[in-house]
Every structure is written in C-alpha cells, then in structure tokens.
Amino acid sequence: MDSFFRSEEMCLVQLFFQTESAHNCIDELGHLGLVQFKDLHPGTADFQRRFVKEVKKCEEMERILRFLKKEVITSNILIPADFTTERISLPRDVLDLESSFDKLEQELKEINSNRDTLRQNFTQLTEINHLLHMTDDFFVEVESQMTISELPSEDSVYSSRRASYASTNGSLKLGFVAGVIKHERFPAFEKILWRLFHGNFVLRHAEIKPHQEENMEEVFVKKDVFVVFVQGDQVRGKIRKLCDGFHASMYPCPNNAAARKEMRTNVNMRMEDLRLVLKRTEEFRVTTLTAAAANLREWTAKVKKMKAIYYTLNLCNIDITQKLIIAEIWCPVSDLSSVHAALIKGSEQTGSSVTPIMNRIHTQQTPPTFNRTNVFTSGFQNIIDAYGVGDYQEINPAPYTMVTFPFLFAVMFGDCGHGLLMTLLAVWLILHEEHFRKLKNELVDMLVSGRYIILLMGIYSIYTGLIYNDCFSKSFNLFGSSWSVRHMFHPQGPWTNETLHNSDYLQLDPLVSGVYSGNPYPFGIDPMWNIALNKLLFLNSYKMKMSVIIGVVHMLFGVMLSLGNYIFFRNFKDVVLKFIPELVFMLSLFGYLTFLILYKWCVVIKSDSAPSILLLFINMMFFDYSSNGAMLYKTQKPVQIFLVVVAGVMVPWLLFAKPLLMYREHKQSKLKPSPNKLPMQDFGNFIQEPLEKSKEKISMGDIFVYQGIHTIEYCLGCISNTASYLRLWALSLAHAELSEVLWKMVLQVALRVTSGMGSVLLAVTFATFAVLTVTILLVMEGLSAFLHALRLHWVEFQNKFYQGSGYKFSPLSFDKMLNMK
C-alpha cells in the first residue's frame, strides 16, 4: 500500500445538509475522525460568527462543570472512571443540560453558604462555651486577690460583697471585658493594653484546648480566651474599639456564677441542636455531590463535543433561506464512501428525508498532508513532522527512518550490554503501557510514546555492540583471535625472553609469518585489540573510514529519493537539470573516496609505503602529483584527473542550465498571446475557481539567485555533510571510553581487593557502577546519540530531497479530543 511512502491523496468536498440534521451529521463525522473542515469565513473574528452565543453557553457549562469537579474532589468523593458515550447529542440536549447545570450550581451554592453560616454559629457557641468555662477560674482568682488586698472583714456573704463593691467602693469598682482572640495576636494585644492603661488593668488569658469531637472545622485556628479587668466604664468603650481592631470577638459574660451556669447549659443545648443540623447539611451535600459525580465525566464529554460541533458550524456557510448548511471539507479520497455512510446515518437519526449531498470540487489550493499511521509507525512519523510536515504527496522519509534512525543511533551507541538493557526497558514500557499512561507525567508520556523507537534502538545496539566487540567495555572471544603472540618468539620471530625483560611493551608485526593468521576475525573486531595498548590507533582509523562510507551511502540514498519525487510529479526536466549533475558530482568525488578506502583495505601494501587517503584526496583536488608520489594503483593519476574535471563540469551545469532554460521558455511564452481567462461563476454562496491561472511574471534575477544558492548549498554541503558524519566515530569513541573508565576505575578496583572485606566493598561498588552506568551511559549518552542521529536525518539526509513545507491534516476527531484530557 502506497499510503505510508507518500501522503494520501486528498480531495475537497462540498457538503450540503439541512439545518436540522446538521448537528447529527457533524456528530457522526466527528466520531469518524477523517474529515477536516475548512474555514469559509477566514476574515471574521470569533465574536462575529453565527453561533457565538451557543459557544458561550457551552463555555458557561464547562465552568459549572469545573466548579462541580472541584467540589467533588474537595469532599473526597470518587469519580467513577468508565462511562458510556451516547452517540446522540441533539440541540435539545443543550437546553436540558444547561437548565440542570444551573439548578445544580444554585443548589450547591446554597448548601455551601448555609453550611458556612452554621459553622460560624457553631464556632461562636464553642468559643462562648470555653469562655464561660475558663472565666470561672479567673473570677475566683481575682476575687481571692481582692479579699486579700481588702481590709479584713470576712463575715460578708461572698456574692453580696462583690455587689457591694460595685456600688459602694467607687474607687475600686472593677469592670471586665471577656472575649476570644487569635493566639498569635495576643502578645500585641497585651502590649497595646499596657500602653493604654499604663498597667492599670488585670489581664488573664488561657489557650483554648478543644475536645476531640468538637473539632468540626476544616482548619483549626488557635485561639485564646482573655478577660480584662479595668476600672471605670468609659474605658470599656476603648477596649471594645481595641478588640474590634484586633478582630477579637467579645462575648457578654455575666457577673455571677449562677448566671454563668445557666448560660452554659443554654449554650450546650444550642450546640447540640446545631451539631445535628450541621450533620444533616453535610449528608445532604455529600448525596448531591455523589449523584453529580456519577454523571460528571459523561457531561464533560458531552459538553466538549457540543462545543466542538458549534465551533465547526461556525466554520460553515448558512444559506439565505436558513434551511441549508454548506461546508467544505478536506477528506482522503479512499475514505469518501465511509464519510458518505456517516452522513446518511446522521440524517437518518433526525428522520429527515433528504440525504446530504457530497460534491467533489477541483481546486488549485494545496491540500493538507495526511500520513496514516498505526501505533508502531506514529512515533517515527512524529519525529519527522517535528522538523517539518512534508509537502502534499512528496516522499515521506518516515518508512526509511524506521530503520536508518535506530541504526545510526546504534553505530554511535555500540555496546551490546547497554543495548540489552535498553531493549529490556523498551519491552517493559510496551507491556505496561496502560499503567504508565495513567501516571500523567510529561517525561514518562514522552518515553511511552517513543517505546517502539527505543525497542528498535536497543536491538540494533546489540548488533553493533557485537560487531564492535564491546560489552560493558569487555570483548568476547568466540572464534579465536587472528593474532598470535607465540609466533613472535624464536624460532619464527625476533623476540626472545631477553627482549621481554628489557622493555615494558612490545608491538606485534604482521609481516612476521604466523603472527597474523591471514584470516580476519569472522564477526566483528578482533578481541586482541581490546587488550592492546594501541587499541585507539586502530579503532580510530576503522571508525572514521566507516563513518565516511556510511555517510556517503546515506546521502546517495537521499539523492535517489529525490529522483522518486521528480518522477512522481512528472518533472522530467529536473531529472536532467538537477538530479543527474548532483548524482555525478557526489559519485565522482565522494564515491571515489569510498572506493579508495575499500581498495586500500583489500589490497596488500607494505606499511612504510602506504599512502594516506586523506593526503591522496587533498592532492587530487589540487591536481598536485609532485610529492613522492606513492599511488595506490597504476592508473590512478589519469583516473583522478578525469573525475575532478567531471565534477568541475557539473557545477556550472547545476548553476546555469535550469535558469537559462526557464529564461528561454519565458521569452517564448511572451511572444504568444496570453490565454483567455475563464469567466468566474458565482452561484449564491459558492464560487468555482478558475481552472487556469494566468502565467505569473517570472523574475530572472530571482531564479538565478535561487539556483545559485542551491548549487552552493549542494556542493559545499557535500563536503561538510560528509565530514558531519564523522560524529558517528566521535560519539562511539566517547561511549567506549566512558564505559572503559567506569570499568577500570570503579568495578575493577573492587574486584582486585583480596581481603575478606572485599565482598562488602564489591557490593557497594557494584551499586555505584550500576547507578553510573544507567545515568551516564544509558540516559546521557542515549539522549546524546538520539539527538545526533536525529540531526543527521533532519539535515544531512533530508536536505537532499525533502521540502517539508506542507501543513498537517487535523481532522475533527472526538476520540483525540476526549483522550487529550
């Protein structure tokens, strides 16, 4: 099936349906999710559209739903997770839902305010209760003080003395004010009282310690009970004002004990009543909220759908007679029948006799780009689209990226132990996808949506790790090394035990017979290199040449894909004017470089006369054959001169051929008379576009500049992009070195300890090794290699053929809309 290699063929369709069945039809299309509505009023603002009132109503309903949800969550009521989606949501439903929402909101608001008032009353009563309880002690204390300070006359009755005090001894007349104040404000309160009365007062306070069952408030505020004893009446007014300033609540407290007791019983009774009422209110609130919570998800989904439908209706045209709605949609050609079926279903639901009409129209506008993806391919399509959505029907790089991206990642990651860990992580993510999606964490979401990418990256990393012969920086020796140390010693070779004693290290010589077996290690890099001191000398040369070869092959692949684009769009001129010079240029220079690398590997050379490929290449470009002139093969000089000349010829071909051709065509068309434009037809609200546009003015300067830029970009880009692929070498070297450091300086240290404590040390060191491996080598290096592989695709590969300036197909889809929340 062609659809993933190119974006799908789209068509513009006009839909006509009756106003009554519009709602249902759009509902059906939304469930289908294959149709993008075009905006037929592109200039109008949101508030000028026809259905703006209905959209506002939906938004109001959403607000009420959010308020309900908040209330439900604060009361710790569970919202049931699953709900059935009803397919029908008629305009009548809007009114129903609206009225029920309003009613619910009113009810809830009333309940809440009642509850708050009741709670306030209850708090007050509790405070009075505590106040009465504690002021008993104060009065006893103060009275005892008075009896001591007074001249002794103990025969008077307890209470009458106090009354006589109030009436007879004017100078010692004590009034008091009792109240409750917040605990943290009390010190400031006391200070100001001191300043006011210059110490002429008695202040007693105690903290309220609540009983357990009385704690009916959500937040408990610490409060203190205080009693101020002062002389005189006027001062009471001052204290009252002070209390108001400190938001302390004052309560009338009777003088004598009996009245206080009576008040206490009163208060307790009222508290009992209030408690009952509060409980009932709470229960009623919980019942209402639970009933609402059961439908909450369904209502949210319905309101969202309705809002989307009204928004879509705003994009359409209403006929003058108010009976017909006209919409223009983009739709994939292969799905036309299912769209038609959905429309018929929608109109049947309203019982209307007239089926909606679909009228396919031809247009010059560019359709949106639609790539049908499944759960496996969508990750790769997303990373391609992140750089730029493809032009309509140009080649989609995604199917090739599915292999080349994990492969290039693996070339840079190259360790089969780490690759195995990555594969296991990916398998775990795939198996437990549901569980991870529920966590709703952004980072985890990103990991989960890329789980298949990670799986492929891990599998290819295992393969490249086996070829690099690198598993947590150690090598496997499965087939026997091709290098033999024994043959370096007498009698075959130059070494003796003397030579061994005299130097710290020695180098094997492949020219001594038997040292190198003549057959390379059959799968990957020889394990002898892992223990060699000059390992990097060999590996660097190998990896750099490998990067160049892979880079040239990848870029040639990109150029071939551009041929595919030219053929599809029947652009045969560009095949000759652009594709052939590009291909020849790249092959003659960089294809030849690849040939040199492969030739030098395959041919036996004496090591002291081996020419450096880099120098050969540079001298070739400068036509410099004067140096000692070690050539790789006999006819190298003429072949190289020929290739450079051919490449040199390609540059002006690329630069001038196309603009000159267009200039000639432009001149020829100016001589011919211009074709008549078809008259534009206006039928009511829809316009049929003219099938032939007049030829635009071509500016020759623009064309030359554009082609010049393209030529320079391509030719210089060939060199810089080939060098850019050297990052494959650089990152794999960094990865190998990091894992070797972790082995040598972390794990090996613990493995060499010989004492008994070594096992404990090993356990601790292995934990460190594991943590460092995961964070540095898997996460950091993984992200780094991911990024660089992505850059190689986005820039070096795609600039050979990809335009990437299209816009994405965004259908009206209820599934996507509801799943996003």
Partner: protein, 78 residues
Amino acid sequence: MAFVIPMVVFTLFWGFVGGVVPWFIPKGPNRGVIVTMLVLTAVCCYLFWLIAILSQLNPLFGPALSNNTIWYLQFHWP
C-alpha cells in the same frame, strides 16, 4: 579458505533476509512497510559487518601489548 566461509555465510544470510523473505510477507496494509524495513535492515547490517571484516583483512600494524599480557598470551593462547 577461512576467509571465504564467513564471507559466503553472511552474504547469503543477509541476502536471504533482504531478498527472499520479502516475498513471503502476507498481503495486507503493512506489507510495504515491512518489506522496506527488511531490505533496509539487511543492507545496513551487511554493510556494517562487511566494513568491519574488510578493515582487518590486511593490517598495516599489529597490536602493542604489555609485558604481562605477552607472558600470559604466550602460554595460554594458541
């Protein structure tokens, strides 16, 4: 001789994966994608293996080993 065997084996293996298996993929919406993936995998992996083995075919210099390593290898490796 011992070079020809791995050459033939791997060429045949990746040739099988990239050239023969695609014919047996059942027709369905994903056939094109699966075939592309098989061919590209075969090409990439074969090329990578080929580069590794060709680079070691005619070495210009040998590994440099420390004394202890030489001592050990002299007795334990063939």
